[in-house]
Amino acid sequence: MSFLDLAAQNLVSPMVLFFALGLAAALARSDLAVPEAVAKTLALYLMLAIGFKGGAEVAASGLSARMGAVTLAGVALSFLIPVLGYAYLRAASRLPAADAAAVSAHYGSISIVTFVAATETVRGQGLGFEGYLVAVAALMETPAILSALYLARRSGDVPAGEGMGALLREVGLNASVVMLVGSFLIGWATGPKGLAMIAPFIIDPFRGVLCLFLLDMGLVAGRGMREGARHLKPPVLAFGLGMPLVSAALATLAIWPMGLSVGGAALFITLAASASYIAVPAAMRLALPQARPAIYLTLSLGVTFPFNLALGIPLYLALAARVGT
């Protein structure tokens, strides 16, 4: 299926439309809002569901030699992407080192909701994917933070701050990693039988819950745009749209030889192209407090996420159709 058809189809999916509704409502200053406690829980639910399903899939299909290679590629990209992003931002924009490092950390890491949305697009095309990609997603969350910190400190204008150890513990044990990995392992341990037990909770209503969460993300993204737009100078804005494409290209090359399924390749590329907006921002507030959240949150949630959701995912699927098997 061509990119245009995919994009056209994608743009009228309930998921994208509910995101758009949230965006519009927030930009129009409607008082529509999802309570914080519920937003947090929807995120937990999505991670529980996607993690468990991935694990159960692995239990069914077993481990493939390929898994190691794909994981390695993912981790490597998570380390590498911030280096490229940082270099660009320092050269093209006048962002201080801390801001440039913090921003690029988000792009090396991943957005689990972008991943989840991509799994739905993949499924929508009747394609399957390798369940272990959920684990790869979890493993790609943190490396980017490390290289960003390294870059920031090397730059000199960033004080050493807290010990790396404490930070690593905080990041490594952050809710999303624990939830994703934990559910993956439980899904793996209990397998299809376990999946069957809770399928009516984690599979049947999944898409609908995703719509509600995307409505919420649209509301938050719209608010962020209203607040943060003025902080985004053109070169930074360009980064928010261009970096996903660069990462996607790298990811495509990286997995070409690995013979992932088309669906799996699309998801892997999506991971590389997506930008974190839950785990990394919190980590940056601790590790690089002088970096301005108004910049990295607005860019990741207000620019890159909508771009990936609306156009990126279909594009990555089209790319995957070339390199996947």
Partner: protein
């Protein structure tokens, strides 16, 4: 009339990701206790924010109230300030009266 004693009320508004760090420091600073109050929204030098809809901690604030003895207030302030000055947040202090002096 009820006999009361002078204490200090330190009120800290701090971004949520740094809360644990602050609390660990307060524990170290041997305060007798503290109370964490949720915050819905706010505005400051770093701009305005709202907690609604946020799935993560970044961009949210919490309020920490700490009743302490005047003799300890400087230590508490320095502890709090050591964290808050690096993060998004504010610190205020006021006088309060308590009944059980020994409790704080």
């Amino acid at each position: 009339m009820v006999q009361t004693h002078l204490k200090k009320r330190v009120e800290i508004v701090l971004e949520a990701p740094a809360l644990r760090r602050l609390i660990d420091r307060l524990d170290a600073a041997a305060v007798t206790g503290y109370t964490v109050v949720p915050v819905l929204a706010g505005r400051g030098h770093e701009g305005s924010w709202r907690g609604e809809g946020l799935a993560g901690d970044a961009g949210r604030m919490v309020m920490v109230v700490c009743i302490t003895d005047p003799a300890k207030v400087d230590a508490v302030l320095e502890t709090a300030y050591a964290v808050v000055s690096r993060q998004i947040g504010i610190v205020t202090v006021s006088d309060v009266q308590v009944i059980r002096a020994e409790h704080f």
